[in-house]
């Protein structure tokens, strides 16, 4: 034996180590689970990290109410399989309680409102650590973020005052009212995530595979026709074969034209792509040059 691990197994062990550190040191962690590919991998790793015991923390979904129904169906089925508690933090409730004001117009999105709902839920449940599936390859501000990332009492991130993160010695110490965001998949790329899903034969929501869908073109992206988006005058819906690279709100997540309807063909497509997943499919990052940094400072995922 040569006692070597492949890079995927190295990343897997690193992520499991991070999750166990947090479970051992923090009192009330929570895992943020959207039903998207990254959080599917995250939840699978949590299962591996603690088995045969059950996952020692609940999972939480910040539900904008504008999700793809296929994803919500998958979410409920997956948490039931693993026997974990699911907390749904609802953006609609935040709107109803007057915590946030809904955007209006054809480009309205609940993306930014999620931050308030997320921070309210973290405070309400007293969570002191929240696992997220964010990766450093996704976006330039995320490339700078620590695996164990500190949030102050207002849930805010200060990119200039990050704790040095040395070796595998994570400092997750916080004062009451503060919390840590923890990103065990920091060092994974999109391709790593898909290869891992393929190797581990994980189920993912059906919208990740090519399927016929009614879409329309806006700002160079293909959006699904849904009750949550108003069409502009010149926008003509048409049906074509698409799949999703990311799973977010129907209002701000674009589809890509694709015939990839199996895991190997999806992996092959991702390996060959010349455009980043967020660049291709996420309107929320296009607001400004530092759109992600600004939202992260406020407490976004």
């Amino acid at each position: 034996m040569n006692y070597e691990l492949t890079h995927l197994r190295t990343l897997e062990s690193e992520a499991i180590y991070v999750m166990r550190e947090v479970a051992a040191e923090r009192e009330r962690p929570v895992l943020l689970f959207s039903g998207g590919k990254d959080s599917i991998v995250l939840l699978h790793l949590a299962h591996k990290a603690f088995r045969p015991a059950s996952i020692p923390f609940p999972v939480m979904h910040v539900d904008t109410g504008h999700n793809f129904p296929e994803v919500i169906e998958f979410r409920d089925r997956r948490v039931a399989e693993l026997g974990v508690d699911l907390i749904v933090a609802s953006v609609q409730e935040s709107i109803d309680r007057g915590r946030v004001v809904e955007e209006t117009g054809p480009r309205a999105s609940r993306n930014r409102l999620q931050t308030v709902t997320l921070l309210d839920a973290i405070a309400e449940h007293g969570f002191d650590a929240a696992f997220g599936g964010a990766r450093r390859d996704e976006e330039r501000a995320r490339a700078k973020e620590r695996i164990m990332s500190f949030r102050d009492e207002d849930g805010q991130w200060d990119p200039k005052a990050q704790r040095p993160e040395l070796w595998n010695l994570y400092n997750g110490r916080i004062h009451r009212g503060e919390h840590a965001r923890v990103f065990p998949l920091s060092n994974w790329t999109e391709l790593d995530v898909w290869r891992y899903i393929a190797v581990e034969e994980l189920e993912v929501p059906s919208i990740y595979f090519a399927h016929p869908r009614k879409v329309f073109r806006r700002d160079g992206m293909l959006y699904a026709v849904s009750p949550y988006v108003q069409l502009l005058e010149d926008e003509e819906p048409f049906e074509t074969s698409v799949r999703y690279r990311t799973v977010g709100d129907m209002s701000c997540t674009g589809a890509v034209r694709s015939d990839a309807d199996t895991l190997p063909t999806v992996v092959a497509e991702i390996a060959a792509t010349r455009i980043t997943e967020r660049g291709e499919t996420r309107a929320d990052d296009r607001a400004s040059e530092a759109a992600m940094e600004d939202r992260k400072r406020e407490g976004y995922f």
Binding site: N2, Y3, H7, A141, K144, L166, N168, E203
Partner: protein, 639 residues
């Protein structure tokens, strides 16, 4: 149900691509030495820069009026960095070739950001230092190489960049190589490779340059793909810091007790004899469960769950090692540290220290020196270390840590300092001067200043030096009537005659007082050993050589006695008086063997109660005369 792969061929390709291993690289440098251009080229040529990212940085560069595409924008992701045009914090970038995947920790090069450089270097397998061919080895290059060396990154690649600006001249490169080799000889880097490149034109980056036929080595990417790093891990010394106890609550697994952690060193296998430190006892590995299920071997950096054959009192922060190869268990240590916060570190300051999975309180006993990061020279007499300073300190700890020297094991030898008031990480430490193995106590005594935690009183060091003494404990174990007490008394006689304070603690005598309330079952014997060990520790601490003669039949009890001492920085020797049972029974001055064999007394070691032979005694006395036995003990004691 998961989607099925469409045909075996596609699936095989998928898995083949997933077989690459991982190399972590740290780069340090500033904008003008071409580091960003080099990283940009590696990313671009390996197709890790996407079209939309490229379009974005082209647009930003144009808007700023740069006149060229600034590849630094790829890694300088924060608003402040882009506004000021500098790298402040570490950025992580990823690229892959069919052979390997790479993580680049791109760190700022300026002295002001030494702490960020140390952060990026802490996890790296390989570091890349750039030298401008026109300028040769600068102070900055030396600093980058020195930090790579201090952090024990085993592979250093020095890219002599901008060869195009010196006419691709071999003599020019040779002169720089001589200079690098000269200062490289003083570094702790086993593998230094120099490559002449032009990042701008791509010479020797991905493709071999046609313009430097005199260079016979590989281009940079080929070197990165092939450099052998798996041997850098320590596969010899078994070290498994326990993170978390796995105790399922469901009835199906209610007997399951597992200990989760990431292997920090060595190879663990089911059936291995192990010891759990500090002083939790000996057992064997019952089973190992990896992320994919049960495994026959666990090695770094695998995350696994270890099941043990016996139920010991094990918790987070304990370390599993092999009985004959264990880390030092110590309350005082020396470390090189990099200070990372504005408020300077002073002698006497207190912090939390996190080491593997254990966090303890620590006090800075002494600032030993401050090291010039540009030249590597040491300045004694420093009393504080400021932001970005590197120096050596001695530390005393409120509870023992199980450590190895950083040079031997980066995981077991590293620690961070945390300010308890702010919770900030304020320093990084690399433990020096502790040797792994069963004789760890020797080094901890020779090197540690033995400053006790109670800083208000007389320190052990002062007491010992003022009285001219050195304390230690010698533990004589063996069957009843094996001759332990006779030899211990003879050693005592010799030491006292030489003016060295020595005192004998005899098991039988203890039972008349300190341990008079105890019986002879396993628990009572354990407590008996504990009290004897604690009493011996106090004597040793006072500067006396404590000579304990006690049957102490169980290895786990003796291990505990050892850790009571080594945990306090005191020397501890086990002397195994290995007299055959029949000889002991023949001597039997108190007639106990005869009574035990007649069934009059029970629980008698060697008759109806087991004696576990010590696995790794420091001295074995077999058929030696008493005089020879005394010489053996004194030689090993080396006072």
């Amino acid at each position: 149900m998961p989607r099925e792969a469409d045909g075996n061929g596609a699936r095989a390709d998928l898995l083949a691509d997933a077989q690459a291993d991982l190399l972590r690289i740290a780069t340090a440098g500033s904008v003008d030495d071409g580091k960003s251009t080099l990283i940009g080229r590696l990313l671009y040529d390996s197709k890790a820069i996407f079209a939309d990212q490229m379009a974005h940085i082209e647009e930003v560069s144009r808007r700023r009026g740069d006149g060229y595409v600034d590849l630094a924008l790829l890694t300088d992701g924060l608003r402040a960095e882009r506004e000021q045009g500098i790298t402040i914090d570490v950025a992580y970038r990823f690229f892959a070739t069919p052979r390997r995947t790479f993580i680049i920790a791109d760190t700022p090069g300026h002295e002001r950001y030494t702490r960020n450089m140390v952060t990026g270097a802490s996890t790296a397998d390989l570091s890349i230092v750039l030298i401008d061919a026109r300028k040769g080895v600068l102070e900055q290059s030396r600093r980058h190489a020195f930090i790579a060396s201090l952090l024990r990154i085993p592979h250093l690649v020095v890219c002599v960049n901008k060869m195009d600006l010196v006419g691709y001249d071999q003599a020019h490169f040779a002169a720089i190589e001589d200079e690098v080799r000269a200062f490289g000889a003083r570094l702790e880097v086993p593998d230094v490779t120099l490559i002449p490149i032009s990042a701008l034109h791509g010479d020797n980056v991905v493709e071999r340059s046609q313009r430097m036929p005199w260079y016979e080595g590989p281009p940079l990417l080929y070197h990165l793909e092939h450099v052998h790093v798996s041997a850098d891990r320590n596969l010899v010394d078994v070290r498994f810091p326990i993170q978390h106890a796995i105790r399922p609550r469901d009835p199906e697994h209610h007997d399951f007790r597992g200990y989760a952690g990431q292997v920090a060193g060595g190879v663990l296998r089911p059936g291995d004899d192990v010891v759990v430190l500090p002083g939790r006892g000996r057992t064997r590995i019952a089973a190992l469960d990896g992320p994919e299920g049960p495994v026959d071997a666990a090695f770094p950096p695998m995350s696994v769950v270890v099941r043990l054959e016996d139920e010991l009192d094990v918790s987070r922060g304990d370390v599993i090692a092999r009985p004959h190869n264990r880390p030092a268990v110590t309350r005082s240590l020396e470390a090189h540290i990099c200070w990372m916060t504005d408020a300077p570190l002073h002698q006497g300051d207190r912090y939390l220290v996190k080491h593997t999975t254990r966090t303890v309180r620590a006090r800075i006993a002494e600032v030993v020196n401050r090291i010039d990061v540009n030249g590597g020279s040491r300045h004694h007499g420093a009393t504080e270390l400021g932001l970005n300073d590197i120096g050596k300190v001695s530390i005393s700890l409120s509870a023992p840590l199980m450590v190895d020297a950083y040079a031997r094991n980066r995981t077991m030898g590293s620690l961070i300092f945390i300010d308890e008031a702010t919770n900030e990480t304020v320093g990084a430490g690399m433990i020096s001067g502790v040797e792994a193995g069963t004789d760890a106590w020797k080094t901890s005594v020779a090197r540690s200043p033995d400053v006790v935690w109670d800083a208000g009183g007389l320190t052990r060091e002062r007491r010992w030096s003022a009285l001219g003494v050195r304390g230690a404990t010698v533990w004589f174990t063996g069957l009843p009537s094996s001759g332990k007490s006779t030899i211990a008394a003879a050693v005592e006689e010799r030491l006292v005659a030489a003016g060295i304070p020595a005192y004998r603690i005899d098991g039988d005598n203890l039972r008349h007082g300190l341990t008079g309330d105890l019986g002879f079952d396993a628990d009572a014997r354990a407590e008996n050993v504990r009290r004897a060990a604690e009493a011996a520790r106090l004597l040793a601490d006072s500067g006396t050589v404590a000579l304990v003669s006690l049957v102490s039949p169980y290895e786990s009890d003796r291990e505990r006695a050892r850790s009571i001492h080594t945990g306090d920085g005191l020397p501890f020797l086990v002397v195994f008086v290995d007299t055959p049972p029949e000889e002991c029974a023949r001597r039997d001055p108190k007639g106990l063997y005869a009574r035990a064999r007649a069934g009059e007394i029970t629980g008698f070691t060697g008759v109806d109660d087991p004696y576990e032979r010590p696995e790794a005694p420091d001295v074995v006395i077999a058929s030696d005369s008493v005089e020879a036995a005394v010489e053996k003990v004194l030689a090993q004691l080396a006072l």
